[in-house]
Symmetry: none
Subunit: 202 residues, 4 copies
DNA sequence: AACTAACCGAGACGGTACGTCTCGTCTTCGC
DNA sequence: GCGAAGACGAGACGTACCGTCTCGGTTAGTT
């Protein structure tokens, strides 16, 4: 049983409080957005959530686990678009990445701070990988593969490195720029270079 | 005057001890390599360097400042190669980036840890930018420009985004992979995609 | 509620540890005896007591408060003798003062050091007054008053100044002599002078 | 040569500055009066005197030595009165002790603070003994002896304990009272008790 | 209805590190 | 060589959090 599986009702005794669980997650997310990973302390979360520290450690086995779950609600799952046009679908997914950075946290600077904070430990890095990268990488991959099938993208393309390039440039742009990432900052600038690489050979 | 400008002999009183200054930097670098930014404490540095904490705070105004300077000696300046062949020169610089990651710190995992640690604060991020990115970006830029002049690289290329892509993918590869970056992991994989974008149109 | 009132079980949360509380007091007393007020540091107490510094600050709001309480267990309360003979009773109390100096701290030099240390601050001086002087002064006063009633001490005596003289000479003897105070050093020497002043006029 | 013997002009080089020496003593005395022994730091003295710390340590080998000398100018030497009336002479000397406490330091509270501070270390205690007690004890002793010769004081008196009682009660009164000592507080209160002990038996 | 197991909050626990302070000493320059 | 300025190693200060532990008191679902 996962430590945070508070819903499981096999075991005896008083069940975990959903209210507390939720309050902790909310407090965590708010602190994360306002102060970043760095400025988050368990004691701070406990106070903000009106909860004992023990309760937090009962639900999550570490600070990192808590942050992981809270980050999950920022970089939520995505749907994979399928309009029949691979280029459009790619653009949709990539735009979605920008939106996460700018919208999900209210303040765009917050996303940068959080992202940077996730580098603090291998565990948190894995959170970023699992919660953010993997779903998007999968989406891109599927779209590209479909695009290749449809002849919209040239078929000798090496998909994984391409996605790494896109993901890396996203990551880099988010972290290194002082301003929030915009479509023009990132997508429009990399497009010409990437496009040459994926445009179907005629 | 910078707080760490211990050499300036305008001011009266006992001059800052070069020996202590150096011992602190060395201790910092060693701790950084072994334990990462996260595992570095001022008290640890002081003890390892055989120095009082006050001396550290006298030379650097914060932990970040100290790390910045110590990082500088890991990601040292580079020379810009000029063999007449832009592609070769680019490869040299990019190989150099891999070497920094793998050699400068003895342990390749260390570089990943340090790099991640530098994301902890905007100040440290700037250190990475200034100490690592800017010199390499400048090198790449010069080489590309010369390559364009010589007709080795097509001239409608948008240089800055291209370099961002390369830098981002480097950064991403270093951080996201569990193993040290190798030429094959990174350079050989991105080459085909990048090359299509820069190869001269004939 | 006093900060050190760890016994009160009105408040929620884990109760203060009596074991730690006691260990701190013991360590404090031992350090006090060995090194004096001057040589006592909170960190030293914490280490000797096997306790975190925070625990000390949780139980006592300052170093002075801690010393005050620790001193209390050196200069403990006294019982007021009542044998019917005021002169004997006085002698008992005064001998008790000598015993405190010589016995309670194991080493007589220690009492001198501690007493001197208590002069360091008005707060500590008050501790001495409250913990040491006041109870003894009260005892002497009661005995003298009873002695006057019984006609053992002349009734026109001015009690307070007399006690001041006795207390002062005690204090002075403890502080100024290099050796521990003995009955002969102090009590026997002042007796003739005092006695003349208190012997009943016939 | 005493370390503070700045006047000696045997040795080569720049002579010690009387100006600095004096400034240090003055600053010390002023800080002593205002903040007590406790509140005096060498760094504070250096700054107030406009002098380097080294200079202080060149003139006095320790903080205690400096305080000793500065205290000397507060509890200055006394003259031994000899009016032919021992009781009058005693009163003069004792009044002088009160004056030292109240006048020499401007603020009477200061004397209490300084006196308490002198208990901090055996060295300082010796300063008090040597600078303050010994001269006054000698004066009292001489006067009493002359008084005995003249038949003004009874001759079976034990002089030393008597003086201890007087000195102790002075010391005690200064330290324990919150207000400055006055003639009435101290001298007038102890007189009746002491007098009975010294009045000549007729 | 009583029992019991796991929850809850509050807050204490031993620790580590922080950045600041002052100690008494050391080291340089310029008079 | 003295005097000033100020750096030096040392170590204590009181504070902030860490992750754990310990209370009295809930809150279900068994018996």
């Amino acid at each position: 049983m996962k430590i945070s599986d508070y819903t499981s009702r096999k075991r005896p005794g008083r069940p975990r409080s959903k209210r507390s669980h939720q309050a902790i997650l909310t407090a965590t997310r708010e602190i994360l957005v306002e102060f970043g990973v760095h400025g988050l302390s368990i004691e701070g979360v406990a106070e903000k959530a009106g909860v004992g520290k023990t309760t937090i450690y009962r639900h999550w086995k570490s600070k990192e686990d808590l942050i992981a779950e809270a980050f999950g609600s920022i970089a939520h799952e995505i749907e994979i678009p399928d309009t029949g046009n691979a280029i459009n679908d790619l653009t949709t997914v990539l735009n979605g990445m920008i939106e996460v950075a700018n919208d999900a946290t209210q303040s765009p600077a917050a996303f940068k701070k959080i992202l940077a904070g996730l580098m603090e430990s291998p565990a948190l890095l894995n959170v970023y990988k699992k919660q953010f990268i993997v779903p998007r990488r999968n989406a891109l991959k599927q779209i590209i593969e479909k695009g290749i099938d449809r002849g919209q993208i040239r078929k000798d393309i090496d998909i994984d490195p391409l996605i790494d390039i896109v993901g890396g440039s996203y990551f880099y742009t988010v972290l290194m720029n002082d301003k929030p990432v915009t479509v023009d900052d990132w997508l429009e600038r990399i497009k010409p270079i990437i496009m040459d690489g994926i445009a179907p050979n005629e």
